[in-house]
Symmetry: none
Subunit: 253 residues, 2 copies
């Protein structure tokens, strides 16, 4: 690990601790919220909380690994003998990114067959996207970063296509009170996910040393909070409104 | 960290430990209380408990960081090589202060549109207030403290205006049994929050060294207990009374 200033060390450590607290709080919020939605959306809320719970675990590990990677003494910071374990992020994404698509599909309430086929297809594409990114992340050369990062963009663009085109008919079938939120959830997915390659390629376009480390670590952290916790709040709001719409329909019928 | 007496070290450490226990106990109280209020107020109780849960996590971290920052031997206390991480407080406030306003808005039971718009506006103002305070807190000069502290007062005063003027019509629409408590909750917010700048500026008006550290640490701790745990008890009482009032109305109808 290259030299880093105490200010950068602290900023990154505090960003990790902040994200742990955010993810843990979000998890409890989603699991409490589970009792406030109709049965049809309870699994969506379970999965939404699982995503942030898995992220909370990894951010706890990441912050410990970060603290272990440096030795602080009298206001200076130096690399310790233990390398920072960046793989926690990829392990996390490998699990949580497919689940994020699953929670979106579950809250949309498609037919059982569509739910299964879309969850499997999108889940596999997401796992492939994360898996292809990792060799680029640990690559020492910027050509390695471009190669694997570029390959990883293929499943990403496929997912974007599936979300906007494949789900468009299902979006139109949502109850009116939830339709805007479902569209917002799709946009949050695409935009927050698009932020990851920006951070990823920051390591390939001249940014170097401790500045690159700071941009990459803080950047991924912000993207994770939006893609998992903020996205989860949208899923909860969709589930609440659809529960109300279903009840209204049941009363009128 | 400047020299500090063993009495001051102990007072601050015990204040942190006390606050951890208070926040953790408050969290359980609020989440147990969740089942005693009507559905409309359950999210308010979830968020009330989240605020104290996040604070409990940070007070645990703060007390550990405080212990690590000093070496005790033979009844004397000396600074260790590791600095006390004061940023935990700001990380905490950045998350919890917007949520405190959200719990107040949720328990008032405004229309969906008003709830969303007020929660977003007040939440962003609160995050801005905390974010502007931090550079002042870590500033070495008292002019830096005055500058950033002063800037931070702008969103604070805006929030005070929103609470007293923006919410006044909604306060009048509360059921009679809860109206006094809602007014009290607004006053507790404004008065306990006004206590933070008093502590903050104590570092800029001549108070120095270990006395300033003691005043700042114990002062923030007292303010946190009032603003989060005591305020949360008011939110719970409001939710209980409004649940009773809603039921009474449902019976008469």
């Amino acid at each position: 690990m290259e030299t880093i200033s105490i200010g950068q060390y602290d900023l990154i450590y505090n960003a990790f601790s902040f994200t742990f607290a955010t993810m843990a709080a979000a998890t409890l919020f989603f699991w409490f919220g589970r009792s406030q939605v109709a049965d049809a959306y309870k699994t969506a809320m379970t999965v939404t909380g699982l995503v942030t719970a898995i992220a909370a675990y990894h951010y706890f590990r990441i912050s410990e690994s970060w603290a272990d990677a440096f030795v602080l003494s009298n206001g200076t910071v130096a690399a310790s003998e233990i390398a920072f374990n960046d793989a926690y992020r990829y392990v996390d994404w490998f699990l949580t990114v497919p689940l994020l698509l699953v929670e979106l599909i579950l809250v949309m309430g498609l037919s059982r067959q569509e739910t299964t086929s879309k969850a499997i297809r999108l889940g596999l594409l997401a796992a492939l996207m994360v898996g292809l990114g990792y060799p680029g992340e640990i690559s020492d050369t910027s050509s390695g970063r471009w190669l694997w990062g570029g390959l990883s963009m293929i499943p990403f663009l496929w997912i974007v296509y599936e979300l906007f085109v494949g789900l468009s008919r299902s979006v139109d079938q949502q109850p009116e009170s939830a339709r805007g939120l479902v569209k917002a959830a799709i946009w949050v997915t695409v935009l927050s996910w698009a932020f990851y390659p920006v951070v990823f390629f920051a390591g390939a376009i001249g940014l170097e040393g401790s500045t690159a480390t700071t941009v990459v670590q803080v950047g991924y952290t912000i993207a994770d909070i939006i893609a998992k916790a903020a996205f989860g709040v949208l899923i909860f709001m969709i589930a609440v409104r659809k529960s109300e719409a279903d009840m209204g329909r049941a009363k009128t019928a």
